[in-house]
């Protein structure tokens, strides 16, 4: 499972405060702990007004890169900003995100075409978020056409099929599961991603809903996820699900993550005699 660590995001009040106060230590600590928890990408999102978004992103990305080699996920609602922020990064990371809205793809794909950068792509377009699986797969087809034009291999794409709130859904997550399965069937090497927590908006005990969602989505092909890597319950559940799905030969990943304390309570080292 590819873990995209979500905690450095200006939409979180404590991070917004740190950004305003230019509190480097706060940001760097978040980078460090998330990296140590075995994240594959550290997401960096400024969430400030457009006029100072880029400079804020640069400040944040520089700080993160001072304390960890884990690749950055440059995160902005503006694809143009994402494309520019790529230049701040020392090593290839992840663009978060593009979609078939406007010319987002054109702003990012040419820039990453001949690099090792990966890219999150949301399945929505100028008409919004399509309601049916069929329509959403049409957006996917259009996106893959673009990827082909720019010679971006499916294995560099993280498709986010956009799960909606369970609280207002008519048929649970069945539609999105269908989309995930179809994408996985067509492109075995593509990544399918999503935010682990969107599904539970406006419900109590959200963590439980999020966990159930991740397990079901993994069974449908989800192999990349945006979450808090310090959430031990979720991490343990993901490792367990990988093993149950037969993706973890002899449960070695599960055991090793347990030993590292990614989840559970690691056994006490035997007392020295």
């Amino acid at each position: 499972m590819i873990i995209i660590a979500e905690k450095i995001n200006g939409s979180i009040p404590s991070v917004a405060k740190a950004i305003e106060a230019r509190d480097a230590g706060f940001i760097q600590n978040l980078a460090k702990v998330q990296s140590e928890a075995g994240s594959d990408f550290i997401d960096v999102c400024a969430s400030v007004e457009v006029s100072r978004e880029l400079e804020t992103l640069k400040w944040m990305i520089d700080l993160v890169q001072e304390v960890t080699d884990t690749p950055i996920a440059v995160d902005s609602p503006s694809s143009e900003t994402c494309a520019k922020a790529i230049d701040f990064c020392k090593r290839p990371g992840l663009v978060n995100s593009v979609s078939m809205e406007g010319n987002k793809v054109e702003e990012v794909f040419p820039k990453i075409a001949k690099t090792e950068w990966e890219c999150v792509a949301l399945l929505c377009d100028d008409t919004g978020i399509p309601r049916s699986a069929e329509k959403r797969l049409e957006v996917f087809d259009a996106l893959m056409q673009k990827a082909k034009e720019y010679n971006i291999d499916p294995s560099r794409l993280h498709i986010d099929p956009l799960v909606e709130m369970l609280a207002t859904s008519d048929d649970g997550i069945n539609m999105i599961i269908e989309v995930m399965k179809e994408i996985r069937r067509r492109y075995p090497t593509i990544h399918i991603t999503g935010a682990a927590s969107n599904v539970s908006f406006n419900l109590p005990a959200r963590k439980i809903v999020n966990q159930a969602f991740v397990v079901l989505a993994m069974n449908a092909g989800l192999d990349s996820v945006i979450l808090d890597p310090l959430n031990k319950d979720m991490r343990g559940l993901i490792y367990a699900t990988e093993a149950l799905l037969g993706h973890d030969e002899m449960c070695i990943e599960f055991i090793q993550a347990f030993r590292k304390g990614v989840f559970g309570t690691p056994p006490q080292a035997p007392a020295k005699k």
Partner: protein
């Protein structure tokens, strides 16, 4: 660190991809094949001890044995030229009426990793099948009988009795399985008992050397 020591370390942590290359490197460095084999056996002893102590899990023991097996493959051509390093043949099986083979397979793997040539006759084997296997294989030094169920404990006794009555000699009998105790093993006339796969390998070496 000498390559031969690295072989041992990598067997312990089950690096199946690393071990073959390191075994070759150790040979290139001039270590004798039998010493490299011994290093791997020593590594597996560490693994067995850790398993017996509850410090590691079954997959970690399995992957260590797999790593050793990969190393032995590389070693084989060099080993055949040297004097035999085998501790002898071990016939292993689950007694009549008992179909459980997971524990027996673990013990098979660990005794094999300790330096025995294994003959696994499988599950649900009648006493005469054990006797047949002892007759048909060379240099049998050890017979290992497993029973997982309380209901198959009598079959364990029957098997040990039959082997003794056959008059065949030159080997020791070790028994094990969840309901088996050291006391029961002694009562039915077995030479040894082990509570788990790690200690089975140690006991095996011990009684065969005695």
């Amino acid at each position: 660190m000498a390559k031969i020591d690295e072989v041992k370390e990598q067997v312990i942590i089950g690096k199946t991809k690393m071990v073959p290359g390191l075994v070759q490197a150790a040979l290139d460095e001039g270590s004798a094949a039998k010493d490299i084999l011994q290093a791997m056996i020593d590594g597996m002893k560490v693994v067995g001890d850790r398993f017996s102590a509850g410090e590691i899990y079954v997959p970690e023991m399995l992957i260590a044995a797999k790593a050793m097996a990969k190393g032995v493959e590389v070693l084989k051509p060099s080993l055949s030229g040297e004097a035999s390093t085998s501790l002898g043949t071990c016939v292993i099986g689950t007694v009549e009426g008992d179909l459980h083979d997971i524990g027996k397979n673990l013990v098979n793997m660990m005794i094999g990793s300790a330096g025995f040539d294994m003959v696994d006759i499988g599950v649900d084997q009648a006493p005469d099948k054990f006797i047949e296997a002892i007759k048909n294989n060379k240099n049998v030094k050890l017979v290992a009988c497993s029973a997982l169920l309380t209901t198959t404990l009598p079959a364990l006794k029957k098997t040990v009795d039959a082997i003794r009555e056959s008059g065949l000699q030159g080997f020791k009998i070790i028994v094990g399985g969840a309901p088996v105790t050291a006391q029961f093993a002694e009562e039915i006339g077995a030479d040894a008992y082990a509570p788990d796969a790690g200690s089975a390998a140690e006991k095996a070496k011990e009684i065969v050397a005695a």
